[in-house]
Amino acid sequence: MTIIFATYVLIWPALTLGVLALICRAVWRDWCDARRQRRSLV
């Protein structure tokens, strides 16, 4: 029960961290593309 409860609470910050990493990686790629094409990121 302890493990289940800990997982239930802590899975959300773990997921958040995963999404944060994904978004940062994607923005880094967008930024590189934008620099290569000499245009603004937005």
């Binding site: 800990a6 802590l10 910050p13 997921l15 958040t16 999404v19 944060l20 923005v27 967008d30």
Partner: protein, 566 residues
């Protein structure tokens, strides 16, 4: 308002924190500032926002200050399933609009607002109904976010509520005013990174500071049987169901979502919406767990105010640095939503009001920019005044919610069914609003045959919601079947029972009535609309010599005249 039991920052500390936040955000926007902005970039960043920035912006926009407080309240009130019933449905609002969003984008790749698409499909009256609902929604959102800033500042420092409202309003306006949507999406990314990083740290920090899993599991005995049940009917009926009804309405009625839909590169719509769904759900449900933790340890909210729960937990279990991080978390979340509302309001006034109805064929991009910036200034002033005087917006909220519910079917049907007419759209929304008022304000007693009639209409509304959701992902046949099954289930189980839940009954009635009227009037029409003509009628306002990624076929800049037809 100030509470000695919560950690108190000095006036100087709070001012420095807000100065650092808004000053840093403002400096960030200087990097993208152009001396001469163009109208399309100001509204939708020339339709070429990438996946990363798009997903970050969508997530940050959808998370507002109330998300944390309400999720924690839900966890505290409904127990184990509470945070899920708040965060999951909010997240699904993003997910369920995505299949319809792809259709909107396919029909009008160069649109800036959903209203422009509806204008090309039907004309001014339908478009202005949609624009009005968007305007009211964004003003309400702006006011709620400024109010949250005032409340936070007054709870954690000696500064007054009004000071917090004004600092937040002016801060958001300053960094959004010049570059509009471009500034909004760029700062959304920075704000979301801060927001997520802080959430990742704060949730486990509170969890372990409260004694860790063993202590909290021992506290589960404090929960009632309903609170301990993951499949609690109480949580479904009181928290989940009202949200479920609003899933499609919020997404259709909110220009902040459509604006991002038209701004993201077309091939990135799917990953953008999926990532935002998961991101929103994870952050909000995670912070909602703090409410559940408070419940397991039997902690009472200060002064009985549920909004104190998270500040109280952070204040009580973590050092002051974490309270400063929490402060930034809330200011970041409310600012990202407020700047999106300002951008949404300016786009509606620029494209829907000035471009389509005042300039009538000759929109001047420079004048559009002026309209957009003036709109931002006026909207901020209105938001600050409404928030400062704590004006009662309940009636406005009720009407906006009903209006959003009433337009869901006509908007979606107009994009898939070629027989829907302008008269059908407009009449169905007006009739639905009238019928909604009759039910919501109980102008007639909801008993006997009258109650039954409203329950039947509400059942149709329930069928429409389920049917549209299934249709979006699984197609016409499954959508139609799911809608009919939901209608039958509602007729069997909801009649004689739903009349006791007036708010839910009235909301569902709005859906059901607009659907029935829209279908009946459309079936009598002989019109068969050519959807391909929408693409020709909705275009960009500026010439983009460097355009590399609009939805325009062959990536050719759309001539200004395209935007000026009809």
């Amino acid at each position: 308002m100030n509470n000695a039991s919560l950690h108190q920052f000095s006036t100087l500390t709070v001012i420095l924190l807000m100065l650092a936040f808004y000053g840093g955000t403002y400096l960030l926007t200087l990097g993208i500032r152009k001396k001469k902005e163009d109208a399309d970039a100001f509204m939708v960043s020339n339709h070429r926002v990438g996946f990363g920035i798009g997903a970050a912006s969508m997530t940050a926009t959808w998370i507002w200050a109330a998300s944390f407080y309400a999720a924690a309240t839900s966890g505290y009130t409904y127990g184990v399933s509470g945070p899920i019933h708040y965060g999951l449905w909010g997240a699904l609002m993003i997910l369920f609009i995505y299949p319809f969003g792809r259709r909107f984008r396919k029909l009008a790749p160069d649109a800036h607002t959903l209203g422009e698409l509806i204008h090309a499909r039907h004309g001014s009256s339908s478009q202005l109904i949609l624009a009005l609902s968007n305007l009211m929604g964004s003003i309400i959102s702006l006011m709620v976010n400024f109010t949250a800033a005032g409340a936070l500042v007054s709870v954690l420092s000696p500064l007054s509520f009004q000071a917090g409202v004004i600092i937040a309003g002016v801060g958001v306006l300053l960094y959004t005013l010049w570059s509009g949507f471009r500034a909004s999406v760029l700062t959304d990314f920075a704000q979301l990174v801060a927001l997520m990083a802080i959430a990742v740290v704060i949730i486990p920090a509170v969890f372990f500071a409260m004694g860790g899993p063993s202590e909290l599991v021992a506290g589960l005995d404090n929960l009632s049987a309903e609170q301990a049940n993951f499949f609690s009917v109480d949580a479904v009926l009181n928290q989940g169901a009202p949200f479920f009804v609003a899933v499609l309405a919020y997404a259709i009625g909110n220009q902040t979502i459509s604006q991002r839909l038209f701004a993201v590169k077309e091939e990135h719509i799917k990953p953008t919406f999926l990532t935002a769904t998961i991101g929103y759900g994870a952050i909000v449900i995670g912070l909602g767990m703090i409410g559940l933790m408070a419940l397991t340890l039997g902690i009472e909210p200060l002064n009985g105010d549920m909004n104190n729960l998270i500040p109280q937990m952070v204040s009580g279990y973590l050092p002051p640095l974490f309270i400063a991080l929490f402060f930034i978390l809330v200011i970041g979340s409310l600012s990202s939503t407020a700047d999106s509302d300002l951008s949404a309001l300016s786009a509606i006034m620029m494209a829907d009001v000035y471009g389509k109805n005042i300039a009538r064929g000759k929109p001047n991009p420079e004048r559009m920019l002026l309209v957009g910036r003036l709109t931002m200034i006026i909207a901020t002033a209105v938001g600050i005044v409404f928030a400062s005087f704590s004006l009662d917006i309940l009636v406005m909220l009720v009407f906006v919610g009903a209006l959003w519910g009433a337009i869901v079917f006509p908007v979606i049907a107009s994009c898939f069914w070629d027989r829907v007419t302008n008269a059908a759209f407009t009449t169905s929304v007006i009739v639905a609003m009238l019928v909604f008022c009759v039910a919501r304000f109980e102008w007639v007693p909801l008993s006997g045959i009258t109650g039954l009639i409203f329950e039947v209409l509400a059942s149709v509304g329930g069928g429409v919601i389920i049917g549209l959701m299934a249709f979006g992902f699984l197609g016409r046949v499954i959508g139609f079947t799911a809608g009919i099954l939901a209608l039958l289930a509602m007729l069997i189980f909801a009649t004689g029972f739903l009349r006791d839940y007036t708010v839910l009954l009235a909301s569902l009635t709005a859906y059901g009535t607009s659907t029935l009227v829209c279908i009946a009037m459309s079936l009598t029409s002989r019109e068969h609309f050519d959807f391909n003509s929408i693409r020709e009628r909705v275009g960009n306002y500026d010439n983009h010599l460097d355009d590399g990624g609009t939805g325009n076929p062959a990536n050719e800049p759309a001539p200004v005249s395209l935007a000026t037809q009809r």
